[in-house]
């Protein structure tokens, strides 16, 4: 069975950040689900340690309680699926352990490499570095996606990356690469519209042409966010509500994503004071309005 048939239409989501707890508790009706970055709720001591992952009991306990009331999906930052130096099987096992208690309907990570080899060691750049859009990258990714899918029995999504430099002579453009990746590996897409907007500003890309090339049937989740200008580059800083151009992209793309499960607003907790409760409420309300207008039809139930 195609995994797309299992995707629930969750609606409007909010990225969980510890600083947003008061908002999450008091404005529960404003969103339909939470997205959690699991890596921020555990400490990864590294591959040579046993136990390797130490979870924050305080926050995990809070999420356990909340997960009884509201659906959650997870969006990891720690797999570094594009790293050629190694593939992190233990990270997948950790995600699978979380699936056992959180039962998220899908999960996601970033299409990038963060960890690179350095002699006999590894370095963690802390930034999602772009992979070349080549067949060689597809060959690296496809078996890894297959392994993730074999361990965690729900759709696995990869997010289109923000990049500040481009490699010349790539074999695919980004949208064609994402289409090919989904086709060959079976992963689905987390379409980050603010990442697309950021790239379009920094690299003079037409976002709508980019979206027209993308197979939107693969999109299971959408991210929206806001950012800021810094040193001549627009940054995907998750520091604000969405700019008008991102709203326009969302309105354009929503009716064309039949398998979409939800739209998530990402705001870093450290910007909560600046954006304020009213800012988040306004953001979520606008998302809700668009979702209600364009939400994908529920999957028909199978009649035997």
């Amino acid at each position: 069975m195609d995994d797309l048939s299992l995707i629930p239409k969750l609606g409007i989501g909010l990225l969980y950040q510890d600083q947003l707890r008061p908002f999450i508790e008091s404005q529960r009706a404003r969103f339909d689900f939470l997205e959690v970055i699991p890596d921020t709720l555990w400490t990864d001591l590294g591959t040579n340690n046993n136990p390797r992952y130490i979870e924050s009991l305080h926050e995990v306990s809070f999420l356990r309680q909340l997960s009884a009331e509201i659906p959650m999906v997870i969006h990891s930052i720690g797999l570094s699926i594009g790293s050629a130096c190694r593939f992190d099987h233990e990270h997948i096992s950790q995600i699978a352990r979380w699936y056992e208690w959180l039962k998220f309907p899908w999960h996601s990570d970033h299409l990038a490499f963060i960890i690179a080899g350095h002699g006999m060691n590894e370095i963690n750049v802390g930034v999602t570095l772009p992979l070349p859009y080549d067949q060689e990258s597809l060959d690296l990714l496809a078996p890894r996606v297959a392994e993730v899918r074999s361990h965690v029995p729900v759709p696995f999504l990869l997010e289109n990356n923000v990049y500040f430099f481009e490699y010349p002579h790539q074999e695919f453009d980004e949208a064609a690469f994402l289409n090919q990746l989904c086709e060959t590996s079976g992963c689905r897409l987390l379409l980050d519209l603010h990442n697309l907007y950021t790239n379009s500003r920094n690299h003079d890309i037409d976002s709508y042409v980019w979206l027209e090339k993308l197979n939107l049937e693969n999109v299971v989740e959408i991210h929206v966010a806001g950012g800021m200008e810094d040193n001549g580059f627009y940054q995907d800083a998750h520091s604000d509500t969405s700019p008008p151009a991102v709203w326009n992209l969302l309105e354009w793309v929503l009716p064309q994503c039949p398998n979409l499960g939800g739209v998530v607003f990402e705001l870093l907790g450290s910007w909560y004071i600046d954006v304020g409760e009213e800012g988040i409420v306004a953001q979520l309300s606008q998302m809700r309005e668009l979702w209600m207008r364009y939400k994908p039809a529920p999957q028909p139930e199978l009649v035997i």
Binding site: D39, T43, I123, V125, L129, Y167, D230, F233, Q235
Partner: protein
């Protein structure tokens, strides 16, 4: 193998400005022999790209946040210029290996302690980094039921006055001499608790 070498080169261009300068000046000679012609061409294309500067800025911000967040007193004591200088030296010696803040901050404390041993003289620094390191040691992630050992830090100056001035963002002016021992424990509520002992109790 070549994919690995390419990613390693790109990552080094981001984290190591000296390496980037060498590649800028000497061209492909500065690169390893295990890159393909196309990979070398790509490296040479991005080495002078302003987007690489933006990526480097993001990397530095991410790494700096670790130290700024976890070592506020050390940050206040050193001030922005001196702190930046010490961090530059620290980064030349220590590669970024983890996404997590704790180990990097502890390693920076150890780096400063070694700098003091080799002649760095900044009033109160020895006491401040010993205290902040001990504080991190108590807060180090542990498995359930594993209780951290108490931490002991010797002070030659009144820590309350010292910390108050630093927490107000001031470089300490006059801090009275006070020989005392700070004892830190992890409380039942999961919060670190410190008390001052002036008589060895």
């Amino acid at each position: 193998m070549t994919q690995r070498a390419f990613q390693s080169t790109v990552a080094r261009l981001v984290i190591d400005p000296d390496f980037r300068d060498r590649v800028s000046v000497h061209g492909v000679i500065a690169l390893g022999s295990d890159l393909t012609t196309l990979e070398r061409e790509r490296v040479m294309a991005i080495v002078s790209d302003k987007g690489l500067d933006a990526t480097r800025t993001l990397h530095k911000s991410f790494r700096l946040t670790k130290i700024y967040t976890l070592l506020p007193l050390t940050r206040a004591l050193l001030g922005p210029d001196h702190l930046a200088k010490e961090i530059d030296s620290f980064w030349k010696a220590e590669l970024p290996v983890s996404h997590y803040f704790m180990e990097e901050a502890i390693a920076f404390c150890d780096f400063l302690r070694d700098r003091i041993c080799s002649g760095l003289r900044i009033k109160y620094l020895k006491e401040v980094i010993a205290y902040e390191r001990a504080n991190l040691e108590l807060r180090r992630p542990r498995t359930n039921g594993d209780v951290p050992k108490p931490q002991f830090v010797n002070f030659d100056h009144d820590p309350v006055t010292l910390f108050t001035q630093l927490m107000n963002g001031k470089c300490p002016q006059v801090v009275p001499a006070l020989s005392c021992l700070l004892v830190g424990n992890m409380g039942q509520d999961g919060e670190v608790q410190w008390h001052i002992s002036t008589d060895g109790n």
